[in-house]
């Protein structure tokens, strides 16, 4: 068996194989439901209903999608440059931490605090990723492991602060920070609907990232470095500085997830602010084939699965982890599907 590149990539191929991948994922999810003794169709129905079945459900899905848009974009931007940023979780918490610090300690008036918190968060997330990427470009240290390890270090650091200097004195012993003042929160897009401007910021970010990727010299450089760093270096593209810029962009985007969760939804910082949004961002980005606008769609899809599975597991005897398995399966099927859009498996 051998892989042979296809001469021309038809639209049917480009869409067909990913569609098959998703169909297979649904099949796996059905099998898992059967394993739990549930009716697969009913289970899937409950998941869809839980994600989209009511105004409340839809809003819940949109809210869950918001941080995933940011972490998905962060991963998509980095992976384009073959920069394996697996540390979106740490960058998210860096953003959240700085948001809380600026929002609760500086005493800025709300309209000032909201943009300042965002900028500070972006800076914190960017710096968080800059360290491992510096180690990569200067010393050749693999960034996969360093960014992964920094996730653990960051969580311990946050835990230390929440039990120490940042601990809310009114928190009745819970490790959580003081809450942001009311006027430093992101307002709701429509009065009365539980959806904040963080979601809109996510959409805008996706468009901006898309523009950077296809229309700017930086985007061109990022793609060149990702596809063939040696050729990029030979052609005079400053590979190291492109990687550092990519790191700033990626880390900043991930930090906005933390910013938007704190300023838009939760109001304070806790240790369970993110149920793995940083890691899920990898799935979101891969399902979107690393396309920035696709990230929005896949973030909504992934959020829907999680929200739907949560609601389903309350009704049926199927553990909510069915969502995690399905998404990991979808990720693996999808990378095979991407391969199949470009190569034929031929004999001999």
């Amino acid at each position: 068996m051998r892989l042979e590149p296809v001469a021309s990539q038809t639209l049917g191929r480009t869409l067909g194989f990913p569609a098959i991948a998703l169909a297979l994922t649904v099949l796996v999810a059905s099998l898992l439901a059967m394993l739990a003794g549930a009716n697969p169709l009913a289970t899937l129905g409950l998941i869809v209903n839980g994600a989209l079945g009511s105004k409340f459900a839809v809003l819940e899905t949109l809210n869950r999608a918001t941080p995933l848009i940011f972490t998905g974009l962060a991963v998509a931007v980095a992976f384009r440059a073959r920069l394996w940023n697996i540390g979106a979780e740490a960058q998210l918490y860096a953003g959240a931490l700085v948001t809380v610090l600026v929002g609760t300690r500086l005493g800025l008036p709300g309209p000032v605090a909201i943009p300042v918190m965002a900028m500070a968060a972006v800076a914190a997330g960017a710096l968080m990723l800059l360290l491992p990427v510096m180690l990569k470009v200067r010393l050749g240290v693999d960034e996969v492991v360093t960014t992964l390890l920094l996730n653990f270090i960051m969580l311990l650091f946050i835990s230390m602060l929440l039990e120490g200097p940042l601990k809310d004195p009114m928190g009745m012993g819970w490790p959580k920070s003081e809450a942001l003042p009311r006027d430093a929160r992101l307002p709701r897009i429509v009065d009365g609907l539980r959806l904040h401007w963080g979601f809109a910021l996510g959409l805008i970010s996706a468009v901006v990232v898309w523009f950077i990727q296809v229309r700017t010299t930086l985007g061109y450089e990022i793609r060149a470095v990702g596809l063939n760093p040696e050729a990029a270096r030979f052609a005079g593209i400053p590979v190291r500085s492109v990687l550092l810029k990519t790191a700033l962009l990626s880390g900043g985007l991930a930090a906005l997830a933390g910013y938007s969760e704190v300023a838009g939804l939760k109001g304070n910082l806790t240790l369970d602010l993110s149920p793995g949004f940083g890691y899920t961002g990898i799935i979101v980005a891969m399902l979107a084939l690393l396309h920035p606008l696709g990230v929005v769609v896949s973030a909504l899809f992934v959020a829907g699965i999680f929200v739907g599975a949560d609601s389903m597991s309350r009704a049926a005897e199927v553990p909510t982890y069915i969502a995690d398995i399905s998404l990991a399966t979808a990720l693996l099927f999808m990378v095979v599907a991407i391969l199949m859009t470009r190569f034929n498996l031929v004999r001999g």
Partner: protein, 314 residues
């Protein structure tokens, strides 16, 4: 000197070996994969599912050793998935590895919830008990720490010797190392790169799973979520630290475990009362990053690591 006092106790060195054991298994597993040319980022998830599968098997009534076999087989199954995607299909080892970690972890959690829907705290099993090696265990300090361990720890140490022997003293090891250095050398001598690499990933994944199983079957006697807690990633750093050599990687694991055991004991000292415990818990992760930085200049990386091989293409 409190540190010296700690270092002079047998219980400390006993703990070092206990902490090192899962790392040794998994590091050897990763080392086998990487020597053959495949980075296996599935390690973290494979340790989780190994921890679960071994423990579950014993809880379901199997013996301890059959439990270890179940863990190993489960790990090999996920290794096979990883190998199929990365070796013949040549897909990104980064993406596939993370995918396997996510899949294995969530599968373990799903299966746990399916098997034990009601419980709030996980049931315990009767774990491996320490076995004193006659005579040797009576030696002062050394004896108590080195020769009064559970069988799995002895097995971990034996694994290093076996891996070292196979890699450097057998035709199989020769082929495996060549596959990670220049796969076309393997192909030109009539051997299958695909088979060797897949075999290495499957076998390596089996060891990783046993490393996970050590946690539930020897160290803690029960399965918790998040119990692997980054140990897989630490093992990847240990392989680099050990310059892809089994002996050096073993030293690395023991050194690392010594720091870990030390930080646990330091928490009980007056210093521990002043410094937040999280600082101590950060030690293993910070050490791993430091190890990577320290070793970065001494590149002895297998030449074909992470390079997929296509037959006939040279």
């Amino acid at each position: 000197m409190e540190i010296l006092d700690i270092l002079m106790t047998a219980s400390f060195w006993g703990a070092v070996l206990r902490i090192a054991s899962p790392l040794i298994f998994a590091t050897m597993g990763e080392l086998i994969c990487e020597r053959a040319g495949v980075l296996n980022l599935g390690i973290e998830g494979i340790m989780v599912i190994g921890a679960f599968a071994g423990w579950m098997a014993v809880y379901a009534g199997l013996g301890l050793w059959p439990g270890v076999m179940v863990a190993m087989a489960t790990g090999m199954l996920f290794g096979l998935l990883h190998a199929t995607l990365t070796v013949p299909l040549g897909l990104s080892q980064h993406v596939v590895g993370l995918g396997v970690t996510l899949l294995a972890t969530s599968s373990a959690y799903y299966a746990y919830r399916l098997a034990l829907p009601e419980v709030t705290s996980p049931p315990r099993i009767e774990p491996f008990q320490p076995v004193d090696i006659p005579v040797l265990s009576d030696l002062p300090l050394l004896g108590e720490s080195l020769f009064s361990q559970t069988p799995l720890t002895y097995l971990a140490l034996a694994t290093v010797a076996v891996v070292g022997f196979v890699l450097y003293r057998t035709p199989l090891g020769l082929a495996l190392r060549a596959a990670g250095e220049n796969p076309s050398a393997v192909e030109a001598q009539g051997l299958s790169v695909t088979a060797i690499r897949m075999g290495a990933v499957v076998a390596g994944s089996g060891l990783m799973a046993v490393g996970g199983a050590f946690l539930t079957m020897s160290a803690f006697s029960s399965f918790f979520f998040e119990m692997v807690n980054g140990r897989g990633w630490i093992c990847i750093a240990l392989v680099v630290f050990g310059a892809w050599r089994p002996g050096k990687a073993l030293l690395g694991a023991i050194l690392f475990a010594a720091f870990d055991a030390l930080q646990i004991r330091m928490q009980q000292t007056p210093l521990g009362a002043v410094v937040p415990y999280q600082i101590f818990l950060m030690v293993p992760y910070v050490l791993s990053i430091l190890a990577l930085v320290l070793m970065s200049r001494r590149a002895e990386v297998p030449e074909a690591l992470m390079v997929p091989y296509n037959r006939g293409e040279r």
